[in-house]
């Protein structure tokens, strides 16, 4: 397997270097760019296998979003992860609407980033070799293909981010059991305040409801957490 190339667009020199060093040590070929123009011109020559994007790039406040849009136009399947210090609801909504595969905070440690990168590459591989992996997990009308990070409700793809997929997986794995917020955080490999867990759950629910208006399998257990109701 050829060495995977990862493009890291981050205006902060130290962070860029640290990330590049860490990921390089994990066997990836990492190219760092400090600005949108720099990255754009590089991408014009060749696309990387995965892109890690910061939103604010120096003076270019929304440079990350712009770059994301450009990249998505060129490739529908290129994995894109937003890695940012911004954590407002609006930022994440915009980012995800632009087709990013995940949106994580900078405080999320490098090991967790690594897990996401690995998962995304695993999906790329799975996509390229159709129907070879294990059969998808079935819950009610939900089918989960863990390698492809693909969740389908009544056969329609839910289009979940990596974090959302892992969260849903954690719920579905033990139907009827309450998963606390901390458990969900752990399984989704993110560290955020517990309030943003409910935001994530809400977003997952909404994606279900877009397909099935009467969807009510994700149950809130006040004071405890959430559970998958069969």
């Amino acid at each position: 397997m050829p060495q995977r190339t990862i493009a890291l667009i981050e205006d902060e020199q130290v962070i860029r270097d640290n990330y590049r060093d860490y990921l390089t040590r994990q066997g990836y070929l990492v190219k760092g760019y400090a600005s949108r123009t720099e990255a754009s011109s590089a991408f014009a020559r060749a696309l990387p296998d995965l892109v890690i994007l910061d939103i604010g790039l120096g003076e270019d406040v929304d440079g990350g979003f712009e770059l994301c849009r450009e990249l998505r136009q060129r490739s529908a399947t290129l994995p894109i992860i937003f890695l940012t210090a911004r954590d407002t609801e609006i930022d994440s909504v915009v980012g995800l609407r632009l087709g990013a595969d995940d949106y994580i905070s900078k405080e999320t440690g490098l090991p967790y980033l690594l897990a996401r990168i690995a998962a995304l590459f695993r999906r790329v591989t799975a996509m390229q070799t159709p129907d070879t992996g294990q059969p998808p997990m079935q819950r009610n009308e939900l089918s989960l293909n863990i390698d492809r990070l693909d969740a389908r409700w009544r056969g329609v793809s839910l289009d979940l981010t990596v974090t959302e997929f892992w969260m849903l997986l954690a719920l579905v794995r033990h139907p009827g059991h309450v998963r606390s917020r901390d458990q969900l955080m752990q399984e989704a490999q993110i560290f955020v305040d517990s309030n943003s867990i409910s935001t994530h759950i809400k977003r997952i629910r909404r994606k279900f409801e877009a397909i099935d208006a009467d969807f009510d399998h994700i149950d809130t257990v006040y004071g405890a957490g959430y559970r998958w109701k069969s």
Binding site: E12, I15, T88, K106, E107, F191, S198, T220, G223
Partner: protein, 696 residues
């Protein structure tokens, strides 16, 4: 809160408007002056009138010699004869004399003061006859045995001028009450028309006599002889004057017909004219004084009397008596000078104005003309003016006072509204709750409103800046923290690559950064919450099952602690966002878990405060709060945790609780309970009564 009325603007303006009462006062002073000048001019006019009448009387042919009895000694009495409109019946009863009853004159026995005899004299004239009413005081009436011996009993002696300086005397008596018998002392016959009636009275007897006027020739004397034993000397004799010699007889002061007739031709509806001789005896009298105040009602009169009371002077009824008139002005006139005097009337608020002017014949004062008039006209005028004045002042006072009061109320209401507006805009713990509306008024109050609003806006901006400080600090810290964290993660990898396993220092440093991350996350949580409010959906939900479910959840998460839920039977429907409320309760429970005394339960309760309010509370046993400033504990970065507590605590939990409470139009509170603390939220709700029906 409205100030007490005594301290209010309204009261102050009302006080100021009291100065309007100076208007009626000034008017009153003016009226007083007016009255004074009116009185003076009335006096002058009245004196003029008296003078004119006196001058005219001096020019008509009056027999002043007859009117003024030649008075040699100056001490001889004269007897006044009242004019009578109709001749009285000679019946011995005083009914016809009733209106003159105050004019009687008393004569007592002069020789023997101890003698009880005395009589009241009253004389009147009608036509050509003189009428006498003699009221004799005699406890022992002795009647003579027969008509022939009248001097053997109580009797009267009437003396009239006779020949040769001696008087003609008539003895008048009777053996029994009834017509009197009359004996002449000489050979003179009893003149026709001389008759009388004798009647007993309570105190003695009464004799009513008719005497032909011609008989008297202007002079007479009457004596009452009191006999207590038929054969003895008389006990006492009372007489009007000596009765044996002509010269001793008293003069009769008779009303003069000519003068009377002259006076009757004068205007006499409002004036009372009296002509007096030098003895101040009334010679002629015409006209009358209006003494009845006909038009005003007692209330006005009382009020005006109070305002225009005159200093008291002797009542004018006392100046009249015995057919005489007396008074300072009359005495002055007798001395040759016209004068005016004022008498108060005892039974009306009027005063009597009396002017006197001498009637001169050459240098000699022969009589006095007295003209009397009541002050009725002035009083009426004054009354009208006063009524107008009082009415006008009252109206003016009402209008101005009313306007001032209205203005004061308006201002007070606006000030109160202004105060309320800003009171509502700032919460009890000092936060600014909303944008003040700017005032459209352009006056000082409007400007005050706008300036307060701008002050508030600036304060609000500053408060926002301070409140957002935490989240901005958190944001700014993230990048450097990320640098450290990623460097440490690299270092950890390097160290483990060099095969000595994990360096404890790197691990500890990483733990530190994780802790820092946690702090930053907590700091950001508040900011995130405010964002969450923007798209938080609210639903109507029964709080009781929610709290019970929460309680179950906490019990599952903390098996070592006992949780109790105390919820009412009836439903407590509240319009809330359950996630946010749960988050708030989470914070309170997490606090309670940290502070509770081991082995004691944590109580989650719902209390119905009113049909519209419900209280969610989380109570635990443990140390009390030091609640110096209630509400402060719900402030950003305020923590009461002592040292030695585990985990980072920034005092954000309760701040979030407060934000959530306020998002639901409720409030967060904290209080000490016996042996513990209680925290909670008061939320608006629709509470059902226990029978299940919703209260309105």
């Amino acid at each position: 809160m409205a100030p007490r009325f005594r301290h209010s603007l309204r009261f102050k303006l009302l006080l100021v408007s009291l100065t309007l009462l100076l208007i009626p006062w000034a008017g009153y002073q003016y009226l007083k002056q007016l009255e004074q000048s009116l009185k003076q001019s009335q006096e002058r006019l009245l004196l003029n009138r008296a003078e004119i009448v006196a001058d005219m009387l001096a020019n008509i042919d009056l027999d002043w010699a007859d009117l003024n009895p030649r008075d040699v000694s100056g001490t001889r009495p004269s007897l006044y004869v009242h004019p009578l409109t109709t001749p009285p019946d000679i019946d011995g009863y005083p009914e016809e004399w009733q209106n003159l009853s105050t004019q009687t004159r008393r004569f007592n026995a002069r020789s023997n003061p101890s003698a009880a005899v005395g009589f009241d004299w009253l004389a009147g004239r009608a036509g050509d006859s003189l009428y006498l009413l003699i009221e004799v005081y005699d406890p022992h009436i002795i009647y003579p045995r027969s008509d022939r011996s009248l001097d053997q009993g109580d009797h009267l002696i009437l003396a009239v001028p006779g020949d040769q300086g001696k008087t003609t005397q008539f003895t008048i008596g009777t053996p029994a009450p009834g017509w009197v018998s009359i004996h002449s002392n000489g050979a003179a016959p009893i003149p026709a028309g001389l008759r009388g009636e004798w009647q007993e009275s309570d105190r003695g007897y009464r004799v009513e006599l008719q005497i032909p006027l011609a008989l008297t020739r202007g002079r007479l004397s009457l004596a009452v002889v009191d006999v207590d034993a038929p054969d003895q000397q008389p006990q006492g004799i009372a007489s009007t004057s000596g009765w044996r010699k002509n010269i001793n007889l008293a003069y009769l002061a008779l009303p003069n017909r000519q003068a009377d007739h002259y006076l009757s031709n004068l205007e006499h509806r409002h004036y009372h004219y009296t002509l007096l001789n030098r003895q101040r005896q009334v010679i002629a009298r015409q006209g009358k004084v209006l003494t009845r105040d006909q038009r005003s009602d007692p209330l006005w009169r009382g009020l005006l009397e109070l305002l225009f009371a005159d200093p008291l002077r002797p009542s004018f009824t006392e100046r009249e008596g015995l057919g005489e008139l007396d008074g300072p002005e009359i005495r002055q006139a007798l001395n040759g000078q016209g004068g005016v005097y004022r008498y108060p009337s005892p039974d009306s608020p009027l005063t009597l104005l009396s002017s006197a002017y001498p009637v001169r014949l050459g240098d000699r004062v022969e009589g006095v003309v007295v003209v009397e008039q009541s002050t009725q006209e002035i009083l009426l005028l004054q009354q009208d003016a006063s009524e107008d004045l009082i009415g006008l002042s009252l109206g003016l006072f009402l209008v101005t006072g009313g306007s001032l009061l209205w203005l004061a109320s308006l201002l007070a209401r606006r000030i109160t509204r202004l105060s309320d507006k800003y009171q509502k805009l700032v919460s009890p713990d000092g936060r600014i709750l909303g944008e003040p509306e700017t005032s459209t008024h352009r006056d000082e109050l409007g400007r005050l409103d706008n300036s307060l609003a701008s002050v508030l806006k600036r304060t609000q901006a500053y408060t926002r800046y301070l409140e957002s400080m935490a989240s901005r600090i958190a944001h700014e810290f993230r990048t450097p923290l990320s640098m450290i964290q990623s460097s440490l993660e690299n270092l950890q990898l390097t160290v483990s690559d060099q095969a000595q396993g994990d360096s404890p220092y790197v691990t500890r440093a990483l733990e530190g950064t994780q802790r820092l991350n946690l702090i930053l996350r907590r700091l950001r949580e508040a900011t995130r919450l405010e964002q969450a409010f923007q798209n938080a959906e609210r639903v109507e939900i029964d709080l009781a099952p929610l709290l019970e479910s929460l309680c179950q959840g906490y019990q599952d998460s903390h098996p070592q602690i006992r949780f109790q839920a105390q919820t009412p039977e009836a439903g407590v429907i509240s319009y809330i966002n359950p996630d946010l409320i749960c988050q708030a309760v989470d914070k309170l429970v997490s606090n309670a878990v940290d502070f509770h005394q081991p082995e004691t339960p944590i109580v989650l309760g719902i209390t119905i405060l009113s049909p519209d309010w419900t209280r969610l509370s989380v109570e635990n046993q443990g140390s009390n709060l030091t609640l110096e400033e209630p509400g402060q504990i719900f402030m950003n970065m305020k923590s009461q945790r002592g040292p030695g507590q585990q985990g980072p605590h920034l005092g954000l939990g309760l701040y979030l609780v407060r934000l959530i409470a306020e998002f639901h139009e409720g409030r967060a509170w904290a209080e000490n309970t016996p042996g513990g603390v209680s925290f909670g939220l008061d939320l608006p709700s629709r509470n059902e009564s226990p029978d299940g029906s919703a209260t309105p």
